[in-house]
């Protein structure tokens, strides 16, 4: 187990450097002259230009520039964006909003998704089952931004909920945006739980437990649930990482000043440093979540042995 975690960590480090290198290369090597972009319309004198090139290490080979960037990133010096604002500060102010939104969405997905999935699996083939399956299929096929815009419309038209969350600290204001953010994961979680519980209900050990005279609630609540939640938990762990990165659309629609909102703003302003930094941070979160899920998987399922 210990060796497995170490090996997994080493793989993660490799993936992290590969991913950030890719993002860094796409953002900088593929764009034009960064000094000209920084200077704007006013032409720079050759000496100022030379000084700037030296300051940003642009005279060094690409890989050295990347290493400078990684050194700063890993010492939590996120640098400044193109308008001179401290990126670390932008991230620090925006992060709590995204975290709050992602966690409320996650709770929705876990509680509603698993409960509905189990209920539907128990009543397989019934009217409720068909209706829920159809609804999940519809939710999966409607893009999140359409669901978000529609709910924002309803909220605004009848004053049901606020569509301009802004920096408000009220938890209530986050409920609808969180539902929008989690809608796709929620629908997938319901389907996944349904098929997993359905499979386990037909297993031999369930028949044994039933014939032993155990109560139905115990058979389902303990035996079936424990076995069928393993794939669901894997899915949920990866989704939590995805929810934090995927908040860009939801935050834009409901005007929440989180990470996704800042990212969308930076894209609009062609602010390369901010885009690279935020994407790199989100990639780290995503990779950590994947690692956590893999370790959790081994803990939850004793049948899985890692050498």
């Amino acid at each position: 187990m210990f060796r497995y975690i170490i090996r997994r960590l080493l793989q993660m480090v490799l993936a992290f450097f590969g991913t950030t290198l890719l993002v860094y290369w796409l953002m900088f090597a593929a764009s034009g002259d960064p000094i000209a972009a920084l200077a704007g319309e006013k032409p720079l004198s050759p000496s100022v230009r030379q000084a700037l090139i030296q300051e940003f290490h642009l005279d060094q080979p690409f890989i050295v520039q990347y290493l400078y960037y990684m050194r700063d990133l890993l010492t939590f010096d996120l640098g400044v964006n193109t308008s001179g604002r401290d990126i670390g500060q932008i991230v620090a102010t925006a992060w709590p909003y995204t975290l709050k939104l992602a966690f409320i969405a996650f709770i929705f997905v876990v509680v509603v998704g698993i409960t509905l999935g189990v209920i539907v699996a128990m009543k397989r083939g019934g009217v409720f089952d068909t209706v829920v399956l159809l609804l999940t299929l519809i939710v999966i096929s409607i893009p999140v931004f359409v669901i978000g815009s529609t709910l924002a419309l309803f909220g605004a038209k009848w004053g049901l909920w606020t569509t301009n969350v802004g920096g408000s600290g009220k938890l209530l204001a986050y409920l609808v945006p969180a539902l929008v953010l989690g809608s796709l994961s929620l629908a997938t979680a319901v389907r996944l739980t349904r098929s997993s519980v359905g499979e386990n209900l037909r297993a031999d050990y369930v028949r044994t437990a039933k014939s032993k005279g155990l109560k139905r609630s115990r058979v389902v609540g303990v035996h079936v649930l424990r076995n069928s939640l393993i794939p669901v938990i894997t899915f949920l762990g990866i989704e939590l990482g995805g929810l934090m990165g995927g908040a860009i659309v939801t935050e834009k629609i409901f005007n929440i000043p989180g990470i996704g909102f800042e990212l969308a703003k930076a894209i609009g302003l062609e602010d390369g440093p901010t885009v690279v930094t935020i994407v790199s941070l989100l990639v780290i979160v995503y990779l950590l979540m994947n690692l956590l899920v893999d370790v959790l998987y081994a803990v939850l399922d004793p049948r899985i042995r890692y050498e």
């Binding site: 299929l137 815009s149 990639v283």
Partner: protein, 304 residues
């Protein structure tokens, strides 16, 4: 689901009868699946939707005589009428015409990026699965790296550094980021096909690696990939619309995502400009996902 469970007895009788009539002609998994699909109402409905969409993309003037670019501000935000079935948007363009013409870009993005993903995934997956060893290890690490980039975020980064009009930048971004899970699926089905007796037999007859891969392994390892790619086509269309909604997707094309984004600001005054492209978008994605599900059921021997 439930009617499928009810079908098998009658189904197998028919199959038996046909088998006898066909004088021992063995039917392949693919033809079995095809027979199943033709009887599945969900598959038929989604196939009909897809055929209509393809017609819209190839021949939009079949559906509308109006020009999507002929806009007149005096008609701005007019409600649906017999002239324009879906009404007019803020710029006074015919929403019905724009929705019909928008199908082309969405389907192009979906189709081209799925082809790109299929090529990358099949080549890498077959190399990794067939040769194993260090080829497998290298490809697995590359897959890990690309898998570390969430699709939407990666596409945003790629698109903000590529300055080109048309569908190609989006296709490039989706193809470069979307191949990972199909490649893993190809790899695992190649590994299971590699151990089969017929592959051993082919090798003993002196077939080289290329022939074994192309003639023996590829046809037998493709079914799960086709299913995943069908569903991926739907989700790529959805991602493209999301990117266009964020303002970095398609440039210089009529696109549902961009039209929805333009109209959301004024949705309180006029619902039509948001409603109609959204409905078409959702139907398109739904059709591909349902077709993928139906193909999966048809190919799954456990459901027989």
């Amino acid at each position: 689901m439930s009617d499928q469970n009810a079908l098998p007895p009658a189904d197998s009788v028919v199959a038996l009868a046909e088998g006898e009539a066909g004088a021992g002609r063995a039917r392949s998994l693919a033809s079995d699946a095809w027979r199943d699909l033709r009887k599945n109402p969900i598959a038929i409905i989604s196939a009909v939707i897809i055929v209509i969409l393809v017609l819209m993309a190839v021949w939009p003037s079949l559906f509308t005589g109006a020009d999507p670019a002929a806009c007149d501000l005096s008609r701005s935000l007019q409600p649906p009428s017999s002239e324009a079935w879906f009404g007019y948007n803020l710029q006074g363009c015919d929403i019905y015409a724009r929705t019909i013409y928008g199908a082309k870009a969405s389907l192009q993005v979906g189709l081209y990026s799925v082809i790109g993903v299929a090529v990358i995934a099949i080549v890498l997956g077959m190399l990794a699965g067939y040769y194993g060893g260090w080829a497998d290890a290298v490809i697995a690490r590359v897959t890990d790296i690309v898998l570390g980039i969430p699709l939407l975020l990666g596409a945003i980064v790629i698109l903000s550094s590529v300055e080109l009009d048309g569908v190609w930048p989006v296709v490039l971004a989706l193809a470069l980021l979307g191949w990972t899970s199909p490649a893993r699926i190809v790899r695992s089905s190649v590994i299971s096909a590699k151990g089969q007796d017929y592959v051993q037999a082919a090798r003993m007859l002196g077939a080289n690696d290329k022939r074994i891969m192309m003639r023996h392994i590829a046809p037998n390892a493709m079914a799960p990939v086709i299913v995943v790619l069908t569903i991926a086509l739907g989700s790529f269309i959805s991602v493209e619309a999301t990117l266009s909604f964020l303002g970095i997707g398609l440039k210089g094309e009529i696109s549902w995502g961009a039209d929805i984004a333009d109209a959301t600001g004024r949705v309180r005054n006029a619902l039509g400009p948001v409603l109609f492209p959204s409905t078409f978008l959702a139907l398109t994605v739904l059709a591909f996902i349902m077709l993928g599900d139906a193909v999966r059921e048809a190919f799954d021997p456990k459901l027989r």
